[in-house]
Symmetry: C2
Subunit: 285 residues, 2 copies
Amino acid sequence: MIVDVSKNILIVGLGLLGGSYARALKRFGFHISAITKEQSSIDYAIAEGLIDEGSIELDENIIGSADLVIFALYPHVFVEWIEKNQHLLKSGAIITDVTGVKGSIVYKIQDMLRDDVEFIAAHPMAGREVSGVENSTDKIFQGANYIVTPTAKNTPEAINTCLELGRLLGFSNVTTLSPEEHDEMIGFLSQLTHCIAITLMTCNDKENMEKFTGDSFRDLTRIARINDLMWSELFMANKDALLEQMDMFADKFNELKTMLRENDVEGMRKMMRHSTKRRALFDKK
Amino acid sequence: MIVDVSKNILIVGLGLLGGSYARALKRFGFHISAITKEQSSIDYAIAEGLIDEGSIELDENIIGSADLVIFALYPHVFVEWIEKNQHLLKSGAIITDVTGVKGSIVYKIQDMLRDDVEFIAAHPMAGREVSGVENSTDKIFQGANYIVTPTAKNTPEAINTCLELGRLLGFSNVTTLSPEEHDEMIGFLSQLTHCIAITLMTCNDKENMEKFTGDSFRDLTRIARINDLMWSELFMANKDALLEQMDMFADKFNELKTMLRENDVEGMRKMMRHSTKRRALFDKK
């Protein structure tokens, strides 16, 4: 592709992320279409100039003319869509996704897909605490990571197209990982942090705590406001990797508890110095 | 007191917090003195107009003329200071502190203190990630909590003076709790969150994770950069209350792990909805 603006792009699932993709890509002049559940989302996106056309039906013309299809759906909805509707895709089309887990999705899709269509998976690590195309903005891609997770089945052309897509969208870091590396990383950096936040938020229901809350507690629980449908599905789709990260965290937490119980001040201080040193790596550059 | 600016205020320990107290109180015209370890801190504070006089010695004139003494020291240093030097305090003086734990300090100080001096404990819930009088600012009190923890030994006059002090400093919420209520609250909202942050920061040393870090992980580990000397002392000084909070957290985290392992999606979703609902209480008003 490499900014061949004569190509047709189809976005399946026009929510916050799909809408933000449309908003970012429209600037380059691509023909952009969308298929989604709600007519109101289509109407909004056409009125705002985010897309050229759209449908809440499986419009054969729209699907059959798309060179690049971006699936912005829940994991199980994405898998079902391909199972039922892949015969509608254009021969030679490249399809990609935005799914936050990879190992349990990528191989499944690639195994069932027609030979003349290629699936190259990607995870745009961007989002907001609100949803819907009405809240879409390409600002969420600034400073964020876009990760392409190729397998042995992918061609260099499709991989390059997907990397180029990440750059066109405006992501600051566009890179590749294997599906397994991706899932381990996301299990630690994203899913474990959400597990911790919801645990902290629900482990002590004592009243009036909020009156004394400072910034530390607010920072640790910002993501405790969570979409239960989506996150429970993401947890389940990355179950093994997440359980491993949860075990590592629980073991270390238990070490700290033991040190405190046994008055091991030196042990606690050593852990704190390790923490301070390692945190410096994670500062925003 | 109630803004009787003829009163002399002494600050013992002129660091970030002591300096910020001086900065806030000087505006009202009090005579403010300081005793601290480093001559450079005294010099800076005099040059900046934060204090009227100061010493790195136990100056008998300064200590003996103070109507209100604010101790901004590490817990064990505060206890030692009172043990050794309380004979220098003015008869009728009120003393207060900034210590972040209460039960293990308040009764000990009150039990050993002369009958003609009253200790009324307070915890200003404010701070920065930097230290030293050079970084002091009274902005840290805006939007923050100031908690007075009276006991049966305190007089209404001293309690009111201490509440008034919190308001003069510019704290947004000035309130009272028992030492035990305070320690439970601080164990949960502050100390447990620091335990979690340093555990998350040290439980997985895999390389290059920082390349993919997003805001969630950064938010949860901001306080993982930690003063090991101070926090290990604060943890030890609140050991029982903190261990109880750590157990509550670990039990709930283990529940979540079990639900994930056993594919209990409904259980996870219920916990997430509970989390979302409870988090709304903690939004900044």
